[in-house]
Symmetry: C2
Subunit: 556 residues, 2 copies
């Protein structure tokens, strides 16, 4: 069989897995670019389905635990909405709703019989990025060569979420190799942005973000080695969290660049409300994941840290610093406006907001790219060679799929790689010192508490145009946890009008400026990221809650 | 200048740094092989000097804090004994006693003036392995090419120990490149074992172990990437600790294999009593080292873990498992006897002791060696080329120094290295599962609490014969913290007589058997290591105290 046939068979099997009566006729599918609210006009979803799928994780868990809503009901509602999301944005890979409904029933019976929940996520549907292995299902990460090789065991995070009470029902789409900021592969095709289907949903956890943004899942798990949780969360207007290295177990996930130990990929949650991310972290850490995955740091959820003991204590005035641009590519007016809204909201809430001085942001990004590129081409080629499928060379829908992906660096010897990794360590040390020195610029007596930065120099761009990784990748090299927060606004052709500029940092900056036109970004959400120091995951979530509350207070 | 001249000048400068009236005439130096007690017959040391230098760290700190002993006195006593150790075992590199005495005086004045100590290590002399940088001093790690390049800033651990009140006075000898289990380089020469100078002190922190064993330092800091704290601690009969990755800050130390991120070297303490190691860990962690070194895990000293909450609580019966051999090279009778003594002592103290089933110990060792060898030759050659000095090819005193070191693996591409690193991760996962399964074999309801293992298949061997790294290296790949404990016995020609064997695991096993003769190991101490799970440093120290107390109760 050719790789095309293998891929087509897999795609057909996917369609076959969808309950037939939930499929709309092609002719009945909405045609508009913004499908984010289409669930409301769909015959598939009842008012209860809509109420359930638009509830926060806290509300869902409360109603599941009190048996106001059964898990069967909740799982059915999210499954229907996920199938609709799939038809409109093509965001799924594996679909296994039968299995989910059976599990939901078991959980309902358990609750009925014992009067108690199996765990803090009792009955909650949770979606998973394709790479997260579930026994008996494929984890192709978009490689045709990995079709029909079902996982022989669960990833550690799957075992843990299951112990916590989660119900799995779908896995979500990714780019082939996972190493793209968009979502396309030869098996499942392209995932689009529910706010505007001519725009990318971002990547690599693009299917996850599109599904969550469509409210086809209350809580999802993606991964981030350079921005793969945060870029799609920002482009789709959801919340996404990149935790510090080695807090959430990665064991048993399919991946690319395996054995690359220097800048590890991390799993992180997506949700439509911040509480979803915090609940996820607390719940997973409560299961002592270091007993299941040797790479996980033995460090429980730290409630003291969450109450900000090291940041002046609960209720203290904080100092946030905004990185308006990285000195490499100036963000578009859309992105700047998101930061300005955030600054105003925080000041209105009584916090200090100063400017963050970027420090070698481009060098940090390039160093990361060099580490990846030391062996990424051989890594991808080895898997592609299993069937002869081409490695994706461009995400542009018009591009030749056989073209070679342009690389910013080339393969290295182990000794050369060590030299780059040494430079990486030096950059981490410098940045730590850079941050510590901000104690002189704040009024709190502490260094800056958290940094606020763009997630990309643009809002969700048209397909094929999401290439700048520099606004997220610095957190991966420096191991800074980071939460993406939607600002609550969308691109506005008037407010975000193009401003004249004649001087540019770099050629990349100029290109980005030249291609900007607010009309291209119609309806794209504005988002920011809040960045904390290594292993300050708990404090960062608390400081992000302050940002999020401030933004919501402004919006009211 | 030739590299020989540069090295000779450095060695001469070292001698010049020793206070002249502390130097014995060559003719007056003891000639016996066992010099471990020579301090008692030396005119250099007064009874008070002897009392001080034979006190535990707890006693020293108590008497320093109460001003019973001034830091000047304590520093002088240890400095004298260190100089004697240097003349007898050649264990030092940088010697800077003037600087130390000035610092000690300042600390004494501070205590007198304020009535309080500057920190928990107030006034305590602390020795440092050569690689640990002190501003203004060389850190050559035995490379002639790094002579005359003094550190421009302190290593993070130096800043922290200084804040805690430590007094630095000497740095200690290492093998060129640090990647040997013995201690010899072209600048400072060879360090010998104070218990028997025809035997090696081990390496790479060999100078540190020899100095501590001679009681020329109460507390020292070494490093361990494959056994470099533990092998010398065992060979010299002192306590040594290899903590988990990233608990003690490594920032600013000279090193080889820099940029090798997969199996990091860690700093760890040496002392003649276990309390020294525990005090060191608690004190360093109290300074929140993650604020100084971005690689340090944000994880405070965990007193709950130290009180063994996860091991049945204080006073509970524990289950230790002994790895009698690794299935690759059977330990000599000397080593087995050390384990037997430990088993009896623990059982007498009411604990359970079962057998540890080795799991792929050789594969784990070889995987580590492959990771190092992926670039170690180029790494060493690059520094050696600065002056043309040869890389040490053998530690045998009779060997040709120009011979090439035999390697068990060769240089790799980055992609090949990733494949080995991936295999490493798989081994860590397997070993975690292997350990977890022991829950079925214990009577405690828990998996084995800690493993007890040989540190090498032999006690301290003659110079040039310390080549087997497999009994320590598994802890480095698996990131298992490990404490070396002297058993309180020495090699005995009768008790440790050679036993007939006709079957062997491997050629290495046969060679080790054939070379065994208890007479060769005269006076070598017997030691064991106690091994805990990743990041269980606190619990491991507590479980090691139980082992140590049991051994001492047996000895009484």
């Amino acid at each position: 069989m050719t790789w095309q046939q293998i891929a087509a068979d897999k795609k057909k099997a996917q369609l076959d897995a969808v309950p037939k009566d939930w499929l709309l006729n092609e002719a009945d599918l909405p045609k508009q670019i913004d499908v984010s609210s289409c669930a409301h006009s769909s015959p598939l979803l009842s008012p209860l389905d809509l109420e359930i799928t638009e509830s926060s994780v806290s509300v869902l868990l409360g109603n599941l635990a009190s048996a106001k809503w059964s898990s069967l009901q909740v799982t059915t509602s999210f499954s229907k909405r996920a199938v609709l999301a799939q038809q409109l944005t093509n965001c799924l890979t594996e679909i296994f709703i039968d299995r989910a409904l059976a599990r939901a029933k078991e959980l309902d019976e358990h609750l009925k019989k014992t009067g108690s929940v199996v765990g803090p996520l009792h009955g909650l549907p949770v979606s998973l990025k394709d790479q997260i292995s579930i026994q008996g299902l494929d984890s192709t990460i978009g490689y045709v060569g990995w079709i029909g090789k079902p996982a022989t065991e669960n990833a550690a995070i799957v075992d843990i979420l299951e112990e916590l009470g989660a119900v799995f029902y779908v896995k979500t789409n990714i780019p082939q190799t996972l190493m793209w900021l968009e979502t396309f592969n030869h098996i499942f095709g392209r995932t689009t942005n529910p706010h505007n289907r001519t725009l990318t949903c971002g990547g690599s956890s693009g299917g996850e973000a599109a599904l969550i943004a469509f409210k086809g899942s209350p809580l999802g798990v993606g991964s981030d080695v350079g921005g793969s949780v945060r870029v799609p969360a920002a482009f789709c207007g959801t919340y996404g969290f990149r935790p510090s290295y080695h807090r959430i177990p990665y064991r048993g996930c399919a991946n690319s660049l395996q054995g690359q130990d220097s800048i590890p990929s991390v799993l992180g949650p997506f949700s439509n409300t911040l509480d979803g991310l915090t609940i996820f972290m607390k719940a997973v850490l409560s299961k002592r994941p270091w007993l299941k995955d040797p790479l996980v740091v033995r460090k429980s959820w730290d409630e003291d840290a969450y109450s900000l003991v090291e940041h002046g204590g609960p209720g203290a005035k904080l100092c946030y610093a905004i990185m308006w641009d990285d000195g490499f590519v100036k963000p578009d007016p859309t992105v700047r406006r998101g930061l300005e809204i955030t600054k105003k909201a925080l000041e209105a809430a009584g916090h200090e907001v100063i400017d963050w001085k970027p420090h070698k942001q481009a060098e940090i990004g390039l160093t990361t790219l060099k580490i990846w590129a030391s062996a990424s081409e051989e890594d991808g080629a080895t898997v592609a060679a299993l069937t002869g499928e081409p490695l994706v060379g461009s995400m542009d829908p018009e591009a030749d799929i056989w073209q070679k992906r342009p690389m910013m660096a080339g393969p290295l010897s182990a000794y050369q790689l060590w030299q780059v990794q040494k430079a990486k360590r030096d950059l981490r040390e410098e940045y730590l010192d850079h941050w510590a020195r901000t104690v002189k610029e704040t009024s709190t007596g502490r260094p800056v508490d958290a940094i606020i930065s763009p997630v990309a120099p643009y809002a969700a761009p048209p397909h094929g145009k999401s290439g700048n990784i520099f606004y997220t990748i610095w957190c991966n090299l420096l191991d800074y946890p980071s939460v993406v927060v939607p600002v609550g606004a969308k691109v506005d052709p008037v407010l975000d009008a193009k401003q004249p500029r004649t001087e540019f940092y770099t050629e990349f900056d100029k290109q980005n400026y030249e291609k900007y036109d607010p009309a291209l970004y119609e309806n794209a959400p504005l988002s920011i990221q809040v960045v904390g120091r290594t292993m300050e995951d708990e404090a960062l979530l608390a400081m992000t809650k302050i940002v999020d509350d401030a933004l919501q207070a402004t919006a009211l």
